[in-house]
Amino acid sequence: MTVIEEARAPARAPVARGVDTKHRVLSAGGGFLLQLLPLGVMLGLWQLAAELELGRPLVVRSPGQVWTAFMDLHSSGVLWSNAWATLQATIVAMALASVIGIVIGLTLALAPRIERVVNPYLSAMNSAPRIAFAPVFIIIFGIGMSSKVALAFSVIIFVIILNARAGVHAADPDVVRLMEVLGANRRQTFTKLLFPVSVPSIFAGLRLALIYSLLGVVTSEMIAARDGLGQLVAQYAGNFQLDYVYAVILVLVVIGTALNSLAGVVERRLLWWKAP
């Protein structure tokens, strides 16, 4: 009997599954330096290629030349006013598309009958290369901010709609049934279950959309615009000043990365309950 008693000693499953230290290693100080390494190697190879005059010198500018171009753009003030124009359009498109897309996506998920009617059109429009509408928007809205916002909006709205809708559909059927048997009304089911359950998916959509929004704006600017980094790229490329083009692209990379990290911070705040 005693043997059996012993064998019965409670063997609890491990608690605190949420704390996973492995994933944190990279974000620690040492990890950051390690992450800088590829950048150093890349810059080194680039400089080397320029010094050895590999490739056409017109295309392969050295990091030094790009830096000079950057400083020129910076000191003349051209860079920041245009960067601001691009950023502004990106954020406006993002804000509009977020509000409208989330509302439409959630509505569709909650109204299956409307969803069924609209679905084929949604997927058709989603698969259309919407960048191709850029000239149309420029004709409609002119070469100001509106046409940039319109193009970016058309690019990202579907991502947001589809993600919001998918989020609601991801609700655990058991929890849906639970809400039912607890006697929750439609409003309670939405606020306590369907909305919170869709937040992770909505956020995944917003993060994608943020980058695509920048992409849409820059594309529109490259085709026709009064200002913006895309316009700068088009202009310098036309003059074969690729060092300037690279400098602007680097600024775009920095802006894109910054937007993405910002979204990451907000996401971690909002989705604190997800395992880190």
């Binding site: 499953a13 608690v15 048997v181 309950w273």
Partner: protein, 271 residues
């Protein structure tokens, strides 16, 4: 487990109960027939089933898959309307959302973004219970199921057994008069299952609820029930009144000779 020795009046149809003490019924099914769409009329899901559960009784429906036990639960919760026969539950017609009806499923159905306490509060929120009151009630119930130390933890930070106990607390805070349970312990490993069953019996002892539990696990049925209904192919095969006294210490009970004898006897019936 200290909770196991709580005093509790024997009730239900147990042999020790005086006649006439529990005459009112928590639910009854009379000559209930359910045909599944597409299935032939020769093999209905339920075929003339009579089942009743007295107030405060612990009734367990046992049978293998396809025996019709879950269909009975669905009839009781209003998800399935019988093709013929009469169903009464807590003095009315079956419907899913009633304040006095509780449910437990195989899966805990916890919301991952809510702490244990907030998950327990959920049922009270829907009833409109004031915040302070529901918080206090939830914490008290979590303490009762042995999770007083874990009220602030998220489901992802709890073990399977702990999660099922949170679900149990969520069910009890509504003080249901009747509890419908669909294989509530089947997703747990053997050890955790026994612990959870014990915690469940102990907390049930605090309540006056009737329970209808559906399981394919004969041992579980014998451990928990006042009365068993054995189902097979949509019919009631046999009803058995369980002679074991309450409160029950499950670890002790499961090894007793009497338990084993009864289990073997019924097992042969089921095969």
């Amino acid at each position: 487990m200290e909770g196991a020795v709580m005093n509790r009046v024997p009730r239900g149809g147990g042999e020790g109960t005086g006649p006439g003490r529990h005459q009112s019924l928590a639910l009854s099914l009379r000559d209930v027939r359910v045909d599944f769409p597409g299935s032939s009329a020769d093999h209905p899901a339920l075929d003339g089933v009579d089942v009743e559960c007295r107030d405060g009784e612990f009734l367990v429906l046992v049978g293998r898959s396809g025996s019709g036990k879950t269909t009975i639960l669905n009839v009781l919760s209003g998800l399935v309307t019988p093709d013929s026969g009469e169903v009464e539950i807590l003095g009315g017609k079956p419907k899913a959302a009633r304040d006095d009806l509780g449910f437990m499923f195989a899966r805990d159905a916890l919301m991952p973004w809510r702490s244990a306490r907030r998950n327990v509060e959920l049922g009270l929120e829907i009833l409109g219970t004031p915040k302070a009151e529901r918080r206090e009630t939830a914490v008290r119930m979590l303490e009762r199921v042995g999770l007083g130390h874990a009220t602030g933890r998220l489901p992802a930070q709890l073990s399977q057994g702990m999660r099922q106990r949170v679900a149990l607390a969520r069910t009890w805070v509504r003080q249901p008069k009747l509890l419908l349970m669909d294989e509530p312990f089947s997703a747990l490993d053997a050890q955790t299952r026994r612990e959870s069953q014990q915690v469940f019996l102990d907390t049930w002892a605090d309540s006056s609820a009737s329970v209808v539990l559906v399981t394919h696990d004969l041992t579980e049925a014998l451990l928990l029930a006042d009365r068993l209904v054995l189902l097979s192919a949509g019919k009631v095969l046999r009803e058995v009144t369980i002679p074991f006294e309450r409160p029950r210490d499950l670890d002790e009970l499961v090894t007793s000779d009497e338990f084993r004898r009864l289990e073997r006897e019924l097992w042969e019936l089921l095969i």
